[in-house]
Amino acid sequence: MKNNVYLDNAATTLIKPRAVAAAMKNAVGTLASPGRGGHAASMRAAEIAFDCRELAAQLFNVSDPSNVIFTSNATHGLNIAVKALAKRGSRVLVSGYEHNSVMRPLRAAGAELIIARSELFEPESAVFEFERRLDAGGIDLVVTTAMSNVFGFILPVERVAALCRERGVPLIIDASQSAGSLPLDFDALGADFIAMPGHKGLYGPQGTGLLLCRDYTDGIIQGGSGSNSLSDTMPDFLPDGLEAGTHNMPGIAGLREGLKFVLSRGVAQIGAHAARLISIARRELASVPGVTVFGSDRAQGGVLSFTLENLGCEDIAERLNERGIAVRAGLHCAPEAHRTAGTISRGTVRASVSAFNTERDIAKLISVVKRLQKF
């Protein structure tokens, strides 16, 4: 079954700018290992990698491109961040919308988790909860997503970051869903780490991610870095300290093209397009009897969850797939978000859009859901 309508962009953006695949194809056979040699193929790879860092630094306002680290996905970056800042017994304050890529590393680190559970699509409620918990004292670290991967709820990260800065509490931001569709200013936020995938809103290939970080060099893997090679330990400078081993050059070359696409189209325009499509879907689905839509006309990005009264979420996704529409059902690796929203027992169906979706895609989704609800 071919998916003519792809609405699972919160998992990965399947449709990419054409230049992404072309750059990856070109990379195989022309780009060697950056920072590992002086020959043309190595230096060419180093140029592509550096250019990719500079584009990311431009997009996210990172003053030094050395603080842009290549990872294999957002989870990889979040693991580096969590292990740098959360120790056994650390008291870590998280939002009520975190993904397992945050929760599992924190639990593995032995951190004590405090959840700032807040109302869905209510930024003020989130700020209130974060502030209340921070003012109670004893918080060693804050971790928050910028946008819920289940509901598209845009959390007020600028205000949470300000609360952290005022109190000197380190902050990790999971920008998995927001990077590329919402503004993100690393220097202004003052976060210690911001992790993101390269393969979602940045339109790079799978197997790529970015970690924006302050000067932390205590990584989770050690190995060759192409620098300080006489030393038994990893370099104490970035990006080398956090980038052991050979780089994914086809991935980085593709990500570079994805970043160019986002920069040329503009984050504001991409975000507005996503919000408009989701707004149509929200309005139309809400008008169908028996459909519950989790949405709001404010603080919602390009992700929408819904359920049907007469059909389980996995059945809905399966039937949509049979009609060429790709969505995701279940808990979306974010049980905490479902606990917060009260959807943990049934899960939801999630439709998520990208810059390549159209109103026609949304119309097809609505049309099929209407038919499903009838039977």
Binding site: E47, F50, S227, S229, P235, L238, D240
Partner: protein, 86 residues
């Protein structure tokens, strides 16, 4: 022709240095550091023409990118460490 080598701790640092120099109109080439000039093992350096040395030092100082060490390379290929204070 005399060249100068700005020894950098990593390829990324060398690239940042080269970009900063490029922005001021100085042609700079990133290359491997000759083995005899390395202290900590492998590294990269930025090669610049001798005639641009003074302005290059100003440019990288303004960019906050001091090199680990600086060497002059004479026409016969020999290296001599350069000190700004000399």
């Amino acid at each position: 022709m005399l060249n100068y080598l700005l020894i950098c701790r990593s390829v990324t640092y060398a690239q940042r240095t080269a970009r900063a120099l490029d922005r001021t109109g100085i042609t700079a080439v990133v290359t491997r550091t000759p083995k005899e000039l390395t202290i900590d093992g492998c590294s990269y350096c930025v090669r610049i023409p001798g005639r641009h040395m003074t302005e290059a030092l100003v440019a990288i100082k303004n960019a906050g990118l001091p090199p680990a060490r600086v060497f002059a390379q004479s026409e016969n290929g020999l290296f001599g460490e350069f000190s700004d204070e000399e």
